[in-house]
Symmetry: D2
Subunit: 501 residues, 4 copies
């Protein structure tokens, strides 16, 4: 029986129309912001988002502020597909602005959900861009609806807007802090008001947020690689639980979401998979970190072989580390096509399957008659690995070994990474030997959990106060999962909105 009264607007043919699943709200995104620039903010925001494109390819949006007015443009597609046009950027007036690049699963791919979100409040407009996922979103949403609030998106991020509107805080940053206190889960926000650019990071610090300077302007971004592209200087990470208010006048005020301190646990997957190799996290080069993962892996699970090859491109740094530690030739056993997207980040299972065949080609000249070690950054469903191993074998390899530069992924994420359900996670239901058989490798080994912590300079893992959010490997979630716990009872009362475009 369905009680829900959902509003399903028919979407344009090119919009995907899969059913709305509970996990549809999980998303990985990138955020950016600038204030006090000595020129138009929009081209800087566009470049910043382009540098963060790997964090979400589905849609992008920019909101700027100039002289009493907010200007915004949001589009499905890549940043460079739309925000490289002069006439587009010219309409986004002002020297301050925020941006968002977004990934979500199919059902939610509507323009309505694209951020930044905006609202006219009593004291002026506010625009918000959110990376992360809330774990009490449904619960709060129902409460607000019962009090007369009207939601206009299906995004959990809209709660920030609605809560800010309802807050009795005197200043905009008071209101934003009120909202941040009410929610649970992962959030890194850039917020634009008439007077300030506000950065917010959740108390656990799950999603990253960094502060920088471009001339006199302050900039915020999900990753430091965005600063490189625009030529900005990295200052520091925004702290877990910190609210940083960058004034239009260059001032910088640091506030806290709450007085009580939590144990910070940044998401370990940023280091392993999401962040760009040239980003720095906590002062360390991500490329170096991944080479260390490869080195440690080679030490833990060596293999006699003729060549070491990455599964490109994400496996490259760990493969180089592995090869250097093994003293075996590094070669490209796989040639990657530049005309296909990244496998893991494509929303649809069918596309993903086809994507593999088209994305990598075996390099027969290199693998023929050789014992090949393939190094990858992670193993999720195993589908891609199975195909690649078969392809290498068909191209004449004598042996094919797979080494994975992180531990087995056994638990789904609820903080902004679109992981498959537990059933689809290969490591959730199989031993390493079963996995090896399924993917058809001659041998298979994962980096150990302690090896991972060690390679990251924090090992071995402290079970009572782990340094990272690592539930994907351990099941140890850093916050309560309110919506998950009540899924069955709540889903019937919840109404989703889908946008015409």
């Amino acid at each position: 029986m369905r009680h829900a009264s959902s509003f399903l607007r028919s979407e344009k043919a090119r919009m995907l129309s899969a059913p709305i699943l509970p996990r549809a709200l999980n998303e990985e995104c990138g955020v950016f912001g600038i204030i006090g620039h000595d020129g138009p903010a929009a081209p800087i925001v566009a470049l910043g988002l382009h540098a963060l494109q790997h964090r979400g390819q589905e849609a992008a949006g920019i909101t700027t502020y100039h002289d009493g007015q907010f200007h915004s443009d949001k589009q499905l597609g890549l940043v460079a597909d739309h925000f490289n046009a002069e006439e587009v950027l010219a309409k986004l007036h002002g020297t301050s602005g925020i941006g968002h690049t977004r990934y979500s699963t199919t059902g939610e791919s509507s323009l309505r959900n694209v951020q930044p979100l905006y609202a006219d409040l009593d004291r002026g407009g506010i625009a918000i861009a959110h990376n992360g996922n809330l774990t009490n979103a449904r619960n709060l949403r129902q409460e607000l609806i019962s009090k007369g609030s009207i939601f206009h998106t299906t995004s959990d991020s809209e709660l920030f807007v609605q809560l800010t509107a309802l807050s009795r805080g005197l200043t905009m940053s008071d209101k934003v802090i009120d909202a941040a206190r009410a929610v649970e889960g992962a959030f890194a926000l850039t917020v634009l008001t008439r007077d300030a650019l506000i950065g917010v990071r959740d108390p656990v610090g799950i999603r990253p947020l960094v502060l920088g300077k471009l001339g006199d302007a302050h900039v915020l971004a999900s990753e430091s690689c965005a600063f490189d592209l625009i030529g900005a200087e990295f200052i520091r990470d925004v702290e877990p639980g910190e609210v940083i208010v960058c004034g239009r006048d260059g001032s910088l005020v640091s506030r806290r979401i709450s007085a009580e301190a939590k144990n910070p646990r940044p998401c370990i997957f940023e280091l392993i998979y999401f962040a760009r190799p040239n980003s720095f996290v906590d002062g360390e080069s991500v490329y170096d970190i991944r080479k260390r993962l490869g080195r440690t892996l080679a030490e833990e699970s060596p293999v006699e072989a003729d060549i070491i090859s990455p599964i490109p491109d994400s496996g490259v740094p760990s493969a180089i580390g592995f090869a250097q530690a093994s003293n075996v030739d590094y070669e490209m056993a796989l040639i990657r096509s530049h005309y296909s997207g990244r496998t893991f980040i494509q929303p649809d299972q069918k596309v993903r399957e086809m994507g593999v065949a088209r994305k990598h080609s075996a390099n027969a000249g290199v693998v023929r008659g050789k014992r090949v070690v393939l190094v990858d950054d992670s193993l999720v469903r195993g589908t891609t690995s199975r195909k690649i191993i078969k392809m290498i074998r068909d191209a004449g390899a004598k042996e094919v070994h797979l080494r994975v530069a992180c531990p087995p992924i056994t638990h789904p994420d609820f903080y902004g990474i679109d992981t498959p359900s537990k059933d689809e996670l290969l490591a959730s239901n199989n031993t390493v030997e079963e996995m090896r058989q399924q993917i058809g490798a001659d041998s298979l080994a994962f980096l150990s959990l302690d090896g991972l912590y060690k390679a990251l300079g924090k090992g071995p893992r402290d079970g009572d106060a782990p340094a990272f959010t690592d539930h994907c490997f351990t099941g140890d979630y850093p916050t309560s999962l309110i919506d998950q716990d009540k899924t069955e009872s709540r889903i019937e009362q919840l109404s989703f909105l889908r946008e015409a475009r």
Copy 2:
């Protein structure tokens, strides 16, 4: 000085981008609704909207309900441009639905403002289509924003949605009545909930709304001509101040917005200009009414001539009436192109000017050497008339006389008709003789106010309790004009939203 913090999203190239003017909220629209149909509602709603297309050509939308879910599709453009496609209609499931066809001035031509509007309320979804214009919209909007409501359109119609969401009424019709009580101005609504189709007409009855039956289904429409096209039977007008609740089970309950009765004054311009000639209003054929206007005009202001010609198409019935009363040959002095839109209803001045030249051609074969009487339904700016008279004269007419089948328009409308400002209304600043000179006619005459009431069977006009809303001729507005009175002080506090598309 501007204090307003407006949110201006850049619009697609094909969207017009004129500044948002106060009068931009004035609009003329058509609404439709059906419940209890024994087949899909959407194709019926589409045909009904097509029959009401003359009431608004800018955009159209349909919302249906089926089995716990609302389905909606809204598009810029004509009904037939989008809602004739089988695949479009097939997605709008359900046997009940409402629709809206919309006209507004340029600045507001965004998809975001297209109706029906929708909200998920605590007790289920609600969709609303509104014809008319509210006169206390800004005032109310500011009040609600200060209490934490977030508006998502710039349309005054959204107030119905927001007020309904905030109402503590127990039933949906209670909530709708709460909302209807809070607003001032003109409104004819069709409202769709899970259980009912609700029709609402403002206490003065400014905008029309009629009730009909199609088999067992109840239907609501702005005009009876929509019933003809779908083969429905006309039952009666929805009364001014009435809330009619058509249940999914075929039930019909009539409620009142308030206990106190107002003097009903339907808008006289529906009879003179807006309604289709084949519609019936209060049991009278609109075509017959207009012929009577022409006859009365011929009696009041006869002219010795060789031929009587309408300015097609809206002047046809009154010209036929004028010709029959004058016993002079009815001819077509102007040939209308079928590849241009209706002059009066095009939003932009520049388009309007060009439109004239392309829309009518002088029929030289008929006017050469003749004394020509042109009959038109109304005279607004005079621009079109001047050009047409010149064209007829250039084609060889000996004399050109203009007869206008209504009184001089001296005051703007605030109830849903997009009239020009007082400055642009020709009759507001000129005597009849001055107007004659400006348009270049040999003679010019208007139907008198009493002649108008007489031709409508209500004459002469009762100044204390006029039978019609007729402020365009008299300045006698039927409701208070709260927003207008405070325009200067309020405009600065008000924020408008404009949609990306």
Copy 3:
């Protein structure tokens, strides 16, 4: 068995995809041209084509010449949909240009076939716009292909281009005359070269072409109504068999396709149906001609009635004539929607059927209890008439009589009018009484053939040398029908091309 090797490119979804039928090459179009204008030619050509829009609504194209280069733009859709944009016209440089507006049946609705057609010849470029249909096109096409010519359209008009390219004539007008001599059938051409605008009319003069002057510029158009819209002066008809060369310098040279004179027989259907009422043909107003058809019809087949009504809009002039001759009130029994296309001219049967219901509404206020005479310009399939008569009767008419202002149409056209096949022509297979029963009228009468000639001032018809091309009523075709005669044997060898868009 199919031997043909056809090249079918897949078309965009919005392109119609009916099979290519033999009659698919029949088409009705409008042509226009100007040379020597003292400003840009393109806006004038666009307005001229807009005035000729009734001759073809499927596509339009303009080609201009400036300083050694030809510029062209061709689009599916109405003239006003594309050629009203300043940026579009600005790219069509030059003070001379030609244009074409096109109608064809579905299978041929591709951009590839849209005219003007262009070719680079040895002596410079040539652009051609053609109204009419050739009757030896397939024959010639096969011959040229066997000699190495490559055709790029499926349009018979391309023969003019190919033949011109192959001609050994010394001048462009020599080449064009060579081409005109080789073809058989109906053709009115406007041709643009570096030095001249050339007008060509086939020896029988089937399709019309008129010459005019706009300041110092010479203009050519299918109908004089195009001159009215641009403010040009009508000079004279281009003669049947005449080739008129308008030089860039203002010169005007008249040449002949061949020495031998043929009996000119302009197409009678231009007068009855196609031409705009405000056009003049042979010095006579088309509106007047049609009123005379109505008058003669009233004299031949009077009927006792309460009101006379046209089937709008094409029946208006003959209904006015009929009403004046009958001394019965002229009324509008049908109200036409401005949001639907012209019934007869829509390509697809299904669209045509739906179109009727949506295009006309019965005006119950006028017909209730009355004896109604409907006057129409022609009767083709009878489908529309049957529906309209039923609609009027359902609206309460006591009697419904149909009067048709031309004789029964019994034979298809092969000269540029898209008539249905003989089987679909109602009059081809039925007596008048059978037709009356099928359409459900109380009485039915057609204008007689001699009445038609008489009303046109040429009557009665001279069977040996009829003044008009009138085979639709008589089966007396003015030229040989080479392709038709050999249809069966040739169709297998013929290859059609369809364009991607």
Copy 4:
């Protein structure tokens, strides 16, 4: 003074509109063909073209044959943008087909020029896809125009179609051989007729073409990597001067363009730059070849350094070879974004400049304080290198050395590679030392010409009969350059056509 009468159709806004330059006809493309497949050909052709996407990203087209009809679809954009849709492929019926993927400079980016080209000949249809560039195209074109041929594209490839149509050869392969004899320059063709798939390679063998088998079907492709993706087996290279006729029945007939043998000289740039690393050319792995270039380069021009890094992705194999020969760590000094295109292959200078900044990021974690050797496959304008070297230095490198795995490029190409003019080629006007200064490297070295030949196993170069087409390094063009020699005198007589879309 311009005498040319060019036909410039206005293009859609998104089409680039640069002037047509002489070098605009130069292009690099990929071709594919299959016949006798036991299922639909189109999906195989689409995958084959996708594998050849690196040879041209501007447009793609597929033509198939089924039961007397050819079906075709051509689109601007990537293969995967259009030809992955089921509904698109479903319309391309038949078990045989050819395809083309295309690159050209801006002015020619019109749909009209997209291949395969098609013509209906006397004996049936023929479709042609061409990789390469003709050197007597203008000359021949003028001759054919003067004899009455009408050209419909600006592509030199249309000459094959026109010449085939004019040939008196009895069979299709006779006609194709006639055409191939008449032209001069580089051509690898796939040709589809009713009965056969024909592969043609020019007598010098400049552009590659390989023959393979997929089950019983014969396949042709520009490179063997296309066979890998579809799972086809490589048979052999089509020989220079060979015409291979693959019958629908599985037959295979080898013919020759002419009796006299030429010295085959395949284009050396295919090995150095164009071919995919996983392709095999003459039995050798391209990846291996490039590694050898890197090794030889390391031997010729060693440098004391801390790390060796490719300029990704095209420099990867030679950098790996260089690193292995130098025994220095291979690292990624540059991180490549997956959201930008390949620099060299983008048509416009401005896009190219911006592209650099957005495409590579310096990997500061790796280069800081290090002596870095960058290895690239070639050096054309030097713009990219200069920026990259600066970026690496700004990221903290102590020294930056550039090693280029081919000799200096001093001469433009006229056989299908879009090289800049001599003026823009950095090596054409500068010594190595001057180049080093301009790009800002600490040292710069190129692979020597003899080193190149040696690494390819053919060295040293035989000046009388060089084994490769290598004019880019030597100025030794393998054929006459008829059009080039007469550029000045001919350009005025030549007319170009540009397509509306």
